[in-house]
């Protein structure tokens, strides 16, 4: 069983909902990332999504775009991100880490090299935003072979056969994007999320994460009633942006926010 799978198995046992924070690696400076990851775990994260900075993040809203820009100012590369995960692993052998990013850096590094090096660094899952399962013919077998779980996005517009295809290719969990369009935008519609989540459950046994647009403990709690995991990105990245240049303040602000989310979910 992969680290992600056993994480969800344990959560299910204790009837808890997974809290998955997203941060961009290297935001707002490279030295902050590993301490921040540890702080996320200490304040209640079950799994971490770590963004690979990319200059043309076509499916991300302004908040996460800016995070990538801040990281790229420090020239944070995919190999640097893997290095950060390896460093995180020295102190934390349990918390699953999923990399989230775009295909080109992976393509340029080479699928085989990426899968092997990511596995070695202690990466547990990969979500390549612009890689649909149809285009995964080459990379998916390599990821599976290195015990890395590929995770795909399911959108409100995905129909049954699409959901089936995505679930077939996914390992670990699937990620339901609860809002139309890009990250960090719009308003939640709990009823429609509930309908879609139960539709996905009819198709697949995989745990379902719901994300995009969860801003506070109350929305996290409401989402937590529907899904197996809630993913919080922009709201955390906003706090990193607010405290740029002050590592201690950043960690404090993010920890306290993640603590609130945890409390909301556990209530």
């Amino acid at each position: 069983m992969s680290r992600i799978q056993s994480c969800f198995a344990e959560l299910k046992e204790s009837q808890r909902v997974a809290l998955i924070p997203f941060i961009t690696a290297g935001d707002s400076e490279p030295a902050l990332t590993v301490p921040l990851m540890h702080a996320l775990v200490e304040s209640g994260a079950d799994l971490i999504e770590l963004g690979i900075p990319f200059s043309d993040p076509m499916a991300d809203g302004p908040v996460i775009q800016k995070a990538a820009e801040r990281a790229l100012e420090h020239n944070v590369s995919l190999r640097d991100v893997l290095q950060m995960v390896a460093e995180f692993r020295q102190r934390d052998a349990a918390t699953p880490v999923l990399l989230m990013g775009y295909l080109n850096p992976v393509e340029v590094m080479g699928y085989e090299a990426f899968s092997a090096e990511a596995g070695e660094a202690g990466v547990d899952g990969v979500l390549i935003v612009d890689l649909p399962p149809e285009e995964g013919g080459e990379i998916l077998p390599l990821l599976y072979a290195h015990q890395i779980d590929p995770v795909f996005l399911i959108a409100p517009t995905s129909d049954r056969s699409r959901i089936q295809k995505i679930c077939d290719a996914s390992r670990g969990y699937v990620y339901y994007v609860s809002l139309k369009g890009i990250t960090g935008a719009g308003h939640l519609d709990l009823d429609s999320v509930a309908r879609r989540v139960s539709e996905i459950r009819e198709i697949s046994q995989l745990p379902i994460g719901v994300g995009f647009g969860i801003k506070d403990a109350a929305t996290a709690a409401a989402m937590g009633k529907l899904a197996d995991a809630v993913i919080v990105g922009s709201a955390i990245v906003n706090r990193i942006a607010e405290h740029q240049g002050d590592a201690e303040a950043t960690i404090k602000a993010v920890s306290s926010f993640v603590g609130e989310l945890r409390a909301g979910l556990d209530r």
């Binding site: 499916a59 020239n75 850096p105 340029v108 935003v129 612009d130 649909p132 285009e135 795909f152 995905s158």
Partner: protein, 398 residues
Amino acid sequence: MIETSLMPDENGYFGEYGGQIIPPELIQIMNDINDAYDEIRHTSAFQDELADLNKHYVGRPSPIYYAKKLSKQVGGARIFFKREDLNHTGAHKINHCLGEALLAKHMGKTKVLAETGAGQHGVALATACALMDLECEIHMGEIDIEKEHPNVTKMKILGCKLVPVTRGTKTLKDAVDSAFEEYLKDPVNYFYAIGSVVGPHPFPRMVRDFQSIVGKEARAQFLEEQGKLPDIVMACVGGGSNAIGLFTEFLPDESVEMIGVEPAGKGLDTPDNAATLTLGSKGALHGFKCYNLQDDNGEPLPVYSIASGLDYPGVGPQHCYLKDLGRVRYESVDDKACLDAFMTLSRTEGIIPALESAHAVAYAMDIAKDMSPDQTILINLSGRGDKDADFVAERLSL
């Protein structure tokens, strides 16, 4: 011989290039567009409407012009232009914009959006949308807005919403990101009418098909007027739509040499160029696999060209494939040679070309002098230079 009618394959690949490198939710939407396109393209209603617009609205067929004075001045091969600069809206872009807008309308899309570099695609799309009562939104980099001011004004007059792009390079690459972000807000109801033979399948195929009228006309016209095929056909390459438009019909003609001309900017040995096929490596950007100008980490480079419409780090997948096959040769021309050609063509023939097209003219002038007068070069004069006039005048202190 290359079976071009079979390109791309059913997954949108030209060899190893192209495909659909997009979030999974968009696959269905792209496939719907592909299906709708396949459904209407053979119907006589669609063909008749497009043919009627091409004739009475765009002014097709565009003529082929023998540039006698230019040829004489250069000395050597005879140089001909396919006059896409004479089209309504001043460039070849209208060819695919009418097709894309008709398709969007047929599919019941409520809003059409796109990026633009030089503003030619933006103007052409805004024009097509005005004609077809479609809402139109164009994303354009701030740097290009300043440089291509006349086109910006036209887009406003035509009633489209112009969104200035302030992020990243503030040019074409980031305009694509920005337009795509807007598109993702409602891809079911919006139509992203991409401005070249780039983007996810089916766009490289569809835009090529709409542009291939250029080569169809040109081949027949040239044969009729000259009694033979040209020795060389040539076009500038940004994303590659005007080039593929001219080349497609000639691909099976093995005697015809094909040359695509890329922008060398301030020089191939400087970072300030956009010669993607000349210097790039394989990657994936903006929804498709292609040669990219990128660093070792797979970050697209902040490319540059004096011609805003050529200023792009990727290139159409079919061009990548044609390069690997060796069927088309890709060369480059720097800013200075482009400006020289711009002025020379203006003053010898009274034709002010777009800076994009001037790249092809410059390369033709360069090789024509080593050829004989019974040889011929046919250039796609993809657009006119009205949009560039003020910029060039200032640059050359005219």
